[in-house]
Symmetry: C2
Subunit: 244 residues, 2 copies
Amino acid sequence: MARRDSTLRIETDCSACPIRHRAVCAQCEPDELSVLNDIKTYRSWKAGETVVMEGEPLDFAASVVQGCATLTRSMEDGRTQMVGLLLPSDFLGRPGRDRTAYQVTAATDLTLCMFRRSAFEALLRDTPHVADRLLEMALDELDAAREWMLLLGRKTAREKVATFLLMILRRATLDGGPARAELPITRDAMATYLGLTIETVSRQMTALRRDGVIATDGLRGISTADPGLLAEAAGEDADGAPIV
Amino acid sequence: MARRDSTLRIETDCSACPIRHRAVCAQCEPDELSVLNDIKTYRSWKAGETVVMEGEPLDFAASVVQGCATLTRSMEDGRTQMVGLLLPSDFLGRPGRDRTAYQVTAATDLTLCMFRRSAFEALLRDTPHVADRLLEMALDELDAAREWMLLLGRKTAREKVATFLLMILRRATLDGGPARAELPITRDAMATYLGLTIETVSRQMTALRRDGVIATDGLRGISTADPGLLAEAAGEDADGAPIV
DNA sequence: CGTGGCTTTGAAACGGGTCAAGACTGGTGG
DNA sequence: CCACCAGTCTTGACCCGTTTCAAAGCCACG
């Protein structure tokens, strides 16, 4: 899993940061950035490692710099639902609360840009650009969570899998590249995200491939020749954004 | 449905507002309140009326003063999922975006305290107390949405219904009153919220009553003698807040 | 005393879960 | 270089919970 062939040397200078323009610091001016620069620290986890356990203290806020983290919520008997998938530039943490309701796990090798919670809360008070951006990001997350509620409550297994693949292709293909991507998570994690079992995910992947909706390249690589077909399989509105 | 026997005369003065201490204006000082006072307007809808259609312009932000509104998201073929249930003090609107992705419907007779979008956005810039509170509320909504994802993805029909009833009882029984409440929505709306069919909701309500977990009083009234039993039926962690 | 909307109940069908093998992949050590 | 192994994924057969389809009951209201 440690496929970190290009271990991109993390810059300590914010202005060269790969997520600079999309993260919680996106709207900061140079002087604000230098404040951030002074209080941030980087930390990395290997794929599979736990970042924080459900219900434990979370004494930092952070941005995903590189890799993929998952948020999951579990019931006593072990049933588990993923409630968030954090990709580079996404935010982790909950200002005003000192523990997390979710288990945070590194799905791939992961690097976070972290701030102590107290320092970050001071930042929120003093730096409107950070608070504004955080509100914007929280509202985007809320929209995404609600979109996922529609998927979990009403979509069929086939539509669920197709929707997930489409989302990954869209996030990977930011500016009109080819519709091809590496899945950042295992089948198991996909099942946890989609409210399915791993067997059902596997069967639907096979069915979508058999039907010519997607092509696979190894276990993790996916692509689609006809994004419209995939969007249709995902049960998307015809007027939905025809990206990818 | 127009059971508005106590048509509480809405005060125009914020300081006497029933949701004053929990809404987006909760942290405002007297002088800030007077600014709000000047730009707000009230508007009411009858049960069943549509406030805004999915995808239409939403040129205001608002707080629920009285009644209950629902947010729903639909697919082309008509499948519908409720993604939010707004009770008094809850916030409606999306600063920074001019249209809504959800259909907003009055589930009961409804009164909103509204602000023009532009005026509200100005308020956000000038009144940190409002912006702070809005961020806090957005993060609470996000937690609630994620909790609902666990329900939609992993809970059984019986657990879903029990969870909903428990949530209603908890919100109605704010400070240790008896565990009794009126359901603010129809069976149909419950089904839409829980990702079930109306028939399944009805069957599970019957089963919970038969099993002595709840008692019903007419179609809308519910109560429970043993909140622990209901929490268990809802699949809650033993260490979950034992409220109600 | 109908009428229409909402709710309950029943019987049958079906989608996804469960259980159980088996196949593929990448890494390790002989 | 190949055999082995553990982890991951795929496939098959069967089962069960929820949906679907259909009909009847209840209630408020005119």
